[in-house]
């Protein structure tokens, strides 16, 4: 009985303006419309609080699931770097930086998610997501490497001889 009551009260609340306009027709009303307005008001506000609580808490939960949108810029000592691959560690989700070195990660991220920044010729860098800092600035360090090239040759060797 207790559970059905509040639900029906709500219906009453909706009909309320109608009942006030036509008080004479009261005898045609059946339960639950013949309840007194005082208690109806109380239960409605109680109900709305519950509904609101649920609404907000579910909203919070949803926010936990979707996380924060992460944006950022990648550069090296000379300025922005394009074509940097940014991968969410342990997944296949990734994006690349544009001409200005900017990116927006396609999936909202949670605290402690790790983004991996990689580009040919640079040291790969990992960045942990901080919920309070959704804009990431990454400076890639280029690999200290010597550029070398020796050609393969199939030309038969010939000794240089003194004539």
């Amino acid at each position: 009985m207790k559970t059905t009551k509040p639900m029906s009260q709500k219906k009453n609340g909706l009909k309320k303006p109608e009942t006030e306009k036509k008080p004479l027709m009261k005898k045609n009303y059946h339960w639950p419309f013949d309840l007194d307005t005082q208690s109806a008001k109380k239960t409605i506000s109680f109900l709305s609080i519950i509904v609101m609580t649920f609404f907000f808490s579910s909203n919070l939960l949803a926010q936990n699931n979707t996380g924060t949108e992460v944006k950022g810029i990648v550069s090296d000592e000379n300025g922005p770097v394009d074509q940097v691959t940014i991968t969410l560690k342990g997944t296949d989700t990734r994006t690349i930086t544009d001409k200005k070195g900017m990116f927006t990660f396609p999936q909202a991220l949670k605290e402690n998610d790790v983004l991996v920044f990689s580009h040919l010729g640079y040291h790969t860098q990992e960045i942990k997501i901080d919920k309070n800092a959704p804009f990431i600035e990454v400076e890639l360090a280029s690999e200290t490497v010597q550029m070398l090239g020796a050609l393969q040759s199939d030309k038969p060797y010939k000794s240089k001889r003194k004539k």
Partner: protein
């Protein structure tokens, strides 16, 4: 105690044989066909390329094979860049700061060109293999050092000139050279021809060291006594074809040899696969003319031994030939 020593030696010997034959039971055709299927893919999304090249492959060695094969068959040598780099390096040889500045400038160029035009010099090849391997979670290192070829017999004072890779598969390191495996650059016509040489994939370190000497000797992958840089400089000259047929090279140990008139010289090799002995010959070049000779040839358990007697005083270039292909070169000074 002796037994222990022997078993140690045996284990060391096994360690040294870190090479493609460790994976004899694996058929690389699947990996190779994946590399072929993604031929021409651009380099803008390396993760996707790596994922594609790993499709349906279960072992690290197969996944690495697909990556390596893809790099070897899709990346061209950039001859102009090679020449430019060689020139600049030569010019700045004495000035390390200038070399460094040049290197930094070049680096950007190399990677930009590599991604855009799929053209590069050795370091770019090695980088590409390493990058793709690391995206596939396979430990892979870039190795800098000296590469010796018939047109560049190195000297003590030379700077490192070559780059290749070491890769860890099943907890063991292996060597490979994607640059030299990919093809041949014709210095006269300036054209690059893709001509994949499987001999540079997980090569026996004992053979590899004859024309690859790393700056960091740990990448020789030798257990126990490692060959010195001097040994490398004095080693015989091998051609790319040697990697297709030889497992190891035993003798002569040096490129330059001095022998007495009528002395018999032995040439010994371990072959990778059976070779018919009538295809084996030597070319003896005395500077004015060369002639094909068929020395006494013995093949036992793919162990090849040639014996040749020098009967005339002189200075000779001696080439080992299998069929029409040059395998190795030595010089002999025959004294009376």
């Amino acid at each position: 105690m002796k037994q222990l020593l022997y078993s140690c030696i045996f284990l060391i010997a096994c360690q040294i044989q870190a090479q493609q034959s460790d994976f004899k039971h694996i058929d690389f055709r699947k990996a190779d066909s994946l590399a072929l299927a993604y031929k021409g893919t651009d380099l803008y999304d390396l993760q996707e390329l790596t994922n594609n090249l790993s499709t349906g492959l279960t072992t690290d060695v197969e996944r690495f094979r697909a990556i390596y094969m893809w790099v070897c068959t899709n990346i061209k040598n950039d001859y102009n860049l090679y020449l430019k780099n060689k020139r600049k390096r030569q010019r700045f040889k004495a000035d390390s700061l200038k070399t460094q500045n040049w290197n930094n400038r070049l680096k950007k160029d190399v990677f930009r060109k590599l991604i855009k035009d799929k053209k590069t010099i050795c370091t770019g090849y090695a980088f590409m293999v390493q990058q793709l391997a690391s995206l596939a979670n396979i430990p892979c290192e870039i190795v800098h050092g000296y590469g010796k070829t018939s047109t560049n017999l190195l000297h003590e004072s030379d700077m490192p000139n070559h780059t290749w890779n070491a890769v860890k598969l099943n907890d063991k390191w292996y060597l490979c050279d994607p640059t030299w495996a990919s093809g041949i650059q014709n210095a006269e016509t300036l054209t690059f021809t893709f001509d994949y040489n499987d001999g540079y994939f997980l090569t026996n370190p004992e053979l590899f060291v004859l024309n690859h000497y790393p700056m960091d000797t740990k990448w020789l992958l030798f257990e126990g006594t490692t060959p010195a840089f001097r040994d490398f400089l004095e080693a015989p000259l091998l051609y790319g074809n040697a990697y297709k047929t030889l497992e190891t090279h035993h003798a002569p140990k040096r490129f330059h040899n001095t022998v007495k008139k009528h002395e018999t010289v032995s040439f010994t090799y371990q072959l990778q696969k059976p070779v018919s002995d009538n295809t084996i010959s030597l070319i003896i070049d005395n500077g004015t003319s060369d002639r094909h000779v068929s020395p006494t040839t013995k093949i036992i358990n793919q162990n090849l031994t040639l014996e040749y007697q020098f009967n005339a005083v002189g200075f000779y270039d001696v080439h080992l030939m299998i069929g029409e292909e040059y395998i190795s070169t030595y010089t002999f000074e025959v004294k009376g």
